[in-house]
C-alpha cells in the first residue's frame, strides 16, 4: 500500500467541515447577504467540544454511544471511498457494499439514539429517515453497478481510478443517468433540499434534524462532523464519476479532486437556493425516480 493512500482520508478529515461552509455561503450569496464565514463549521465544532451536555433521565447508554460510534463508522468508510484516483487505504473487491453498509450503520445508530429518547418528534424523524434511505439505497447500488460494469468488478478506488473521460465519450448517456441518480441520493442521504431543509425550524417537518434535537455538546460535534464526512464520502463518489480526470503527479490529482468537491458544494448550494422543498409524501416518488434512472443506466450499459 503506497503512502499516497493516506492522502484522501487525511484531506477528508481536514476539509470536510469546509463543505457545509461553502454550501451555506453559496446560499447566502444567492439570497443577497454576506453569510457566515467559510470556516464557521470549524468554529462551531471547536466550541461544541468545549461545552457540556445535558442528558435526559430517560436516555440510556445507547443515546450516548450513538454519535461517537456513528462517527467511527463514517471514518472507517473513508478507508474505502474513492477519491481523485488515489489508491484506497483498505480497499478490497466488493467494498462498495461495505461502504453502503457503513453509511447505513451510521444511520441505524442515529435512529437508535433518537428512539432512545422516547420523544415523538425524534421518532417521527427516525421513521422518515429510514423510509427514505431504504428507497435511496437501490439507486446507490445501481449507480455503482453501472460503473462496475464499465470498468470491471474491482474495489471502489480501483474502479474509479480506471474511469477516464474516454469512458464518458463511449457510454456518456449511461454514466450521465448514473450520475443523476447518485446526485439525488447524495441530496437525500445528506438531508439537503429538495428532500429536507437543514435550516428548517419546524419540528413536524424535520427529518434528520428531529433525530438530533436532544443531543448537545461534544455529541452534537460528533454528529455534525460525521454528517460533513458523510457528505464528503458520497460527494467523492459522485465527483470521481463526473470528473474522472487524474493526469499525473499526486499533488495535481489532489488539487483537481479538491476542486471537484468544492464545486460540488457550490452546486448543492445553488440547487438549494432555487428549488423549494418537496412535499414529504412526494419524496418517495423522487427516490423511486432516482432508482429508475439507475435501472435505465444499467440497461443502457449492459447492451
Amino acid at each position: 500500500m503506497s503512502w499516497t493512500a493516506l492522502i484522501p482520508p487525511l484531506l477528508a478529515l481536514g476539509f470536510a467541515p469546509l463543505l457545509p461552509g461553502i454550501i451555506n455561503r453559496t446560499k447566502a450569496k444567492c439570497a443577497g447577504r454576506d453569510g457566515p464565514p467559510l470556516r464557521q463549521a470549524y468554529f462551531d465544532l471547536w466550541k461544541l467540544l468545549h461545552k457540556g451536555a445535558v442528558y435526559s433521565p430517560t436516555a440510556s447508554w445507547v443515546f450516548r454511544a450513538g454519535p461517537v460510534l456513528g462517527l467511527a463508522a463514517v471514518i472507517t468508510a473513508l478507508a474505502v471511498a474513492p477519491w481523485g484516483g488515489f489508491p484506497a487505504l483498505a480497499g478490497f473487491r466488493g467494498d462498495w457494499v461495505f461502504l453502503a453498509c457503513l453509511l447505513g450503520l451510521r444511520r441505524f445508530l442515529a435512529v437508535l439514539a433518537a428512539l432512545d429518547t422516547g420523544s415523538s418528534c425524534a421518532g417521527m424523524g427516525a421513521s422518515r429517515a429510514i423510509h427514505f434511505s431504504a428507497l435511496a439505497e437501490p439507486a446507490l447500488f445501481l449507480a455503482l453497478a453501472v460503473v462496475a460494469r464499465k470498468t470491471g468488478p474491482y474495489s471502489l478506488a480501483e474502479m474509479f481510478a480506471s474511469l477516464s473521460p474516454w469512458h464518458w465519450v463511449q457510454s456518456g448517456s449511461a454514466l450521465a443517468l448514473a450520475a443523476g441518480a447518485l446526485f439525488i441520493v447524495c441530496l437525500a442521504d445528506n438531508s439537503r433540499l429538495p428532500v429536507d431543509d437543514p435550516d428548517t425550524q419546524r419540528e413536524p417537518a424535520m427529518i434528520h434534524e428531529a433525530m438530533v434535537l436532544d443531543h448537545g455538546g461534544p455529541d452534537l460535534a460528533f454528529l455534525f462532523y460525521g454528517a460533513a464526512l458523510k457528505l464528503w464520502v458520497l460527494g467523492s463518489v459522485l465527483v470521481s464519476l463526473v470528473f474522472p480526470v487524474h493526469p499525473g503527479p499526486w499533488w495535481a490529482d489532489a488539487l483537481l479532486a479538491l476542486g471537484g468537491m468544492l464545486a460540488l458544494a457550490v452546486v448543492i448550494g445553488v440547487v438549494e437556493s432555487v428549488m423549494a422543498r418537496l412535499r414529504m409524501l412526494m419524496v418517495p416518488q423522487l427516490l423511486v425516480g432516482a432508482t429508475a434512472l439507475g435501472v435505465l443506466a444499467l440497461l443502457l450499459i449492459a447492451r
Partner: protein
C-alpha cells in the same frame, strides 16, 4: 332591515346606554341570538358582565349585509344556560371563555374546557380529544417550539403521517389584560392596548381610541382618521409581506423568502417615519394621533413606498412562477366555505375560503366611510388561497396608500376628549391585518371601565387551523400554521 330584530342596532364605533339595551332571560337570549345567526348574522362577541348574583351575558352580532351591529343582553344569573354552540359552532370558544371567567355553564356544549388557564398548572393539562386504534399515535408540540415564535401547545392524533385531528391549547401568553383594563383608563391603559398583539398595534390602538371617542360622544379630527387609516394599511403591508416571505421560507424557496424579509423591514421603516416606532407605538391616541404627517414627510413616505411595492410585486412573481412552490401550496390545508362560515372565520382566512367579509367594507368607520378598498376574496380555502388573498391585499393597500397620500384633509390632528359617559356600552370594529378586531367596553357610574372585552381575530380563527389540518400530512403543519399566522398573545390576552 327587512324584518325587525329583537336586538338593538348600533353602527360601528358608537355607543348606547347600557340600561336601554334589550334584556332577556338567559335561555331566551340564546334563542334570539340563534335566530339572528340563522338569518345570516355573525357573532362578534359573547361575553359576561359581572353583576350579582353571577353575571349577565352580552351578545354583539354583526349584520354584514345591512352594515350594522346589534346588541342584546341577559338578566343577571348564575349557574347554567342552554348552550348556543349546540346549534351554532361559531360560539364555542366564547362560551368556554364565559364559563372560565364567570362560571356560567353552557349546557350541551360539546367540548367544555377552559380557554386560557388550564385545569392544572399548565394550559396543556387536562383532557384532549383522543383517537384510539392500533396505528394511531399522538404527537405533542409545544409550548416552546423551534424557531422564534410564541408558545402554544398542539396535540395531533396521527395515523402514520396523516393527521386525523388537531387540538390547540393556548394560554401561555396570558397576561390578564381584560382585568387590567377594568377600572381604567389608567396611565398604562393605552400602552397595554397597543401591546395586546404587538404586530397589530395600530389595529388595537385604533379600536381602543374609537371606544373612548364613542364613550365621549365625539369623533377624532378627520386628518387623524386619515392618518390612522394609512397606518393601518402600512401595518397590513408589512405583515402580509412578512407572511409571504415566511411561507416561502417554510417551503425553502429562498429567493422570495430573502427578498420579503428585507421588504418587510422597509415597510416597518415607513411606519417609523411617521411616529418613530416600527410598530406604530405612540401614534394613535384617543382623540386623534400623537404625530402628524406633514406634506414633506408624506412626500418622503411616498418616495420610499413605491420602490418597496415594486420589489414585493417582483418577489411575489417569483413565488408563483416556481411550480415547486405551487405544488406545495395547492390543496394543502383546505377549509371549505361551509366550514369557514359555520366556525365564523374572519379576515384573511375567511376571505380565502370564499366568505366576503371585511370590516372596512361592511362596517366602515373613520376614514373608510369616505375612501374604500376593494375586498380581496379567493375561493378555495387552501394555503394557496390564503397566500393569494395576501398578495391581492398588498396590491390594493399599496394603491390605496398612493391615492390617499396625494389627498390629505386639512384640520388638526388631535382634539381633547370629554370624560366617558357613565353606564354606557361602546362597540368598535377595525379590520386588522389578520381580520376583525372587536372591542366592547361598558362604563360604570363614574365613567370608568366596568368591563372591557377584547376580541382579537385570532379568537375566531384558531379553530380554522384545527380544521385545516384534518386529513393533511403532519409535515405540512408548519406551512398551514404559517398560512393562517394567528396571534397567540392576541388570543391569550
Amino acid at each position: 332591515m327587512s324584518t325587525p330584530s329583537s336586538f338593538q342596532f348600533l353602527p360601528n364605533g358608537s355607543s348606547l346606554p347600557w340600561a336601554g339595551i334589550p334584556e332577556f332571560p338567559a335561555a331566551d337570549l340564546v334563542q334570539a341570538t340563534a335566530a339572528e345567526l340563522g338569518r345570516g348574522a355573525r357573532l362578534c362577541a359573547w361575553f359576561g358582565v359581572p353583576e350579582p348574583p353571577g353575571a349577565r351575558l352580552a351578545a354583539v352580532i354583526a349584520f354584514d349585509a345591512d352594515n350594522t351591529l346589534a346588541v342584546a343582553r341577559s338578566a343577571p344569573f348564575s349557574g347554567s344556560y342552554p348552550s348556543l354552540t349546540a346549534t351554532h359552532p361559531q360560539a364555542h370558544l366564547f362560551e368556554r371563555e364565559v364559563w372560565e371567567q364567570h362560571g356560567l355553564q353552557p349546557e350541551g356544549h360539546p367540548w367544555l374546557k377552559p380557554v386560557r388557564r388550564g385545569t392544572g398548572q399548565a394550559p396543556a393539562s387536562g383532557e384532549f380529544f383522543r383517537v384510539d386504534g392500533r396505528e394511531i399515535h399522538e404527537v405533542a408540540v409545544g409550548p416552546v417550539h423551534a424557531g422564534i415564535i410564541e408558545p402554544g401547545h398542539f396535540r395531533f392524533q396521527c395515523n402514520g403521517e396523516e393527521v386525523l385531528h388537531l387540538e390547540i391549547a393556548l394560554g401561555y401568553q396570558h397576561r390578564g389584560l381584560e382585568e387590567a383594563l377594568a377600572g381604567g383608563p389608567h396611565p398604562a391603559t393605552l400602552s397595554q392596548a397597543e401591546a395586546i398583539a404587538g404586530d397589530t398595534t395600530i389595529g388595537h390602538a385604533t379600536c381602543h381610541a374609537m371606544i373612548l371617542e364613542a364613550l365621549a360622544g365625539a369623533e377624532a379630527p378627520l386628518r387623524a382618521q386619515w392618518l390612522r387609516a394609512l397606518a393601518l394599511e402600512l401595518e397590513r403591508l408589512a405583515n402580509h409581506t412578512g407572511d409571504l416571505g415566511a411561507l416561502a421560507g417554510d417551503v425553502a424557496f429562498l429567493p422570495t423568502a430573502a427578498a420579503c424579509g428585507k421588504i418587510r423591514g422597509d415597510f416597518l421603516n415607513l411606519t417609523a417615519l411617521i411616529c418613530g416606532n416600527r410598530f406604530g407605538r405612540g401614534l394613535v391616541h384617543p382623540g386623534g394621533c400623537r404625530h402628524d404627517l406633514e406634506p414633506a414627510r408624506a412626500a418622503a413616505l411616498l418616495e420610499k413606498l413605491r420602490p418597496a411595492l415594486r420589489d414585493v410585486e417582483e418577489a411575489i412573481a417569483w413565488l408563483w412562477d416556481a411550480s415547486s412552490v405551487r405544488s406545495r401550496f395547492e390543496d394543502t390545508g383546505t377549509v371549505f366555505t361551509e366550514q369557514a362560515g359555520a366556525v365564523g372565520l374572519v379576515g384573511v382566512a375567511g376571505r380565502a375560503s370564499g366568505l366576503v367579509r371585511d370590516v372596512r367594507f361592511d362596517h366602515p368607520a373613520g376614514w373608510h366611510r369616505f375612501a374604500q378598498i376593494p375586498v380581496a376574496v379567493w375561493p378555495g380555502g387552501d394555503v394557496f388561497a390564503r397566500a393569494k388573498v395576501r398578495c391581492l391585499e398588498i396590491q390594493r393597500s399599496g394603491a390605496y396608500l398612493e391615492e390617499q397620500l396625494a389627498a390629505p384633509p386639512e384640520e388638526g390632528i388631535r382634539a381633547g376628549l370629554e370624560p366617558a359617559a357613565p353606564g354606557t356600552l361602546a362597540v368598535a370594529l377595525v379590520e386588522g391585518w389578520r381580520g376583525e378586531i372587536c372591542h366592547a367596553a361598558l362604563t360604570d357610574g363614574a365613567g370608568r371601565f366596568r368591563r372591557y372585552k377584547i376580541s382579537d381575530p385570532s379568537f375566531h380563527n384558531w379553530t380554522g387551523l384545527a380544521l385545516a389540518l384534518r386529513g393533511q400530512a403532519i409535515s405540512d403543519f408548519p406551512l398551514c400554521n404559517k398560512s393562517f399566522n394567528l396571534s397567540y398573545c392576541g388570543f391569550d390576552l
